[in-house]
Symmetry: C2
Subunit: 250 residues, 2 copies
């Protein structure tokens, strides 16, 4: 008798961005599994088991969750943001794809959440209001030349670009490399927004442009938004500008 | 004394995907403004004014909301999905950009929501688990050749592609044109998912591929997902396949 595996999106910060569906799954679950800071965001419930692990062991965590669900447990794997966007859902299905046949019979449900780029966009105005793409700058699992190719096509296609995982201790220069590449295809005055720790106490929003952005301001908790030709800034008195991407193409 | 304007994401279907923040704003608002089917999804509250309008008058609706907020009302403009993704947030800021100076002093807050592509992805597995883009096929406001250019770069950049607004009565052939264009750049066996009316009673999910997809199956309530080279199908017994995009590049 097998259990169930929920893959739950917690949203980018506190419970204000949690959906009703996610909230209910977190109450129903017997086991909560995830990267430590995400597990810590789930309210404690008596009798619930909590397994927090390091960020780099996504596949191990996925296998642990699948094994428990197969054993009859109701398991919730938790992700910040949306588990379907650069997060745990792909890792779980990758584990299923390469795991025992029985895992394909499990009851697995992905519960979407508000992703980091959406929370960042909401703070800026509406920069993702028209055609956009999302690119992870992490080169742990894909070679850097694939990332370069995607950045080039995103720029040449005039997409608004959301950059995930823009910085890491292992490769601190990759965001600088990405900005340098984009400057070959986009005007210097292209909008750049840095949304840091959105929804958290130390939230910081920086509005700048491609020829002035300081890569040192980008850390692991930063979501970077690069504007397209239709992205506009609305100047305001005594308040941060609003930014939106026009629904009209130039 | 000015009021406040919330731009609220309702998520793709019923209240299961509503965030806590959105729920609270809908209770606080004095006026609910939006496209008729979205307004109808907001629970009735005594004393609350409801203004439902047609889908094609987004800027008029934005101006009405801004005028009311400036007059001191607490207003909620409601959108399906995420208001920041092909929805009302960009329309509101566009209205501000071209409106009276006073609108720039208003208290405008965008409340993000689960977007259609995220709900569709959750049903399929994790097809947006790696680099992806979102393109609206509506050519009401942008010329078709811009859309063609974006589709080409999305395909050549090996992005997973989410297509919004794939069909309309005014231009029923544009999804067929888009598939034909993509076939010039992508293999025939490229994954195509059609997610129809996700979260609603008549929900239907179709898994197919680029050389077999039937454009007639795509309607206005369909979110189309085109896979990338890393997108995989997991075959299952007696159940729909799961689809995910590998975090590794090929």
């Amino acid at each position: 008798m097998s259990g169930r595996l929920y893959i739950v999106g917690l949203g980018p910060a506190d419970e204000r961005w949690l959906t009703l569906e996610a909230r209910e799954a977190l109450v129903e679950a017997q086991d909560i599994i995830g990267y430590e800071p995400y597990v810590a965001r789930v309210p404690l419930r008596e009798g619930q088991t909590r397994l927090a692990s390091d960020n780099r062991v996504e596949l191990d965590r996925a296998r642990e969750a699948l094994t428990r669900a197969q054993g009859g447990r109701i398991v919730a794997v938790v992700s910040g943001g949306d588990p379907g966007v650069f997060a745990m859902a792909a890792a779980v299905f990758e584990a299923v794809d390469h795991g025992p046949q029985e895992w394909r019979d499990l009851d697995i449900r992905v519960l979407p959440g508000v992703s980091a780029m959406q929370a960042a966009a909401a703070r800026l105005g509406a920069p993702l209001g028209h055609d956009f793409c999302a690119i992870s700058l992490s080169d742990n699992l894909k070679p850097w030349d694939v990332i370069e190719k995607r950045l080039e096509h995103a720029a040449r296609g005039d997409f608004v670009i959301a950059l995930y995982n823009p910085a890491s201790r292992a490769r601190p220069t990759r965001i600088a490399d990405a900005f340098a590449l984009l400057r070959r295809f986009l005007p210097g005055e292209t909008f750049v927004g840095l949304a840091k720790s959105v929804g958290r106490e130390k939230e910081e929003i920086i509005l700048t442009q491609l020829d002035g952005v300081d890569p040192a301001q980008v850390d692991m908790a930063t979501l970077v938004v690069i504007g397209a030709s239709g992205t506009r800034r609305i100047a305001r008195r005594g308040a941060r500008d609003w930014v939106y991407s026009s629904r009209k193409a130039l």
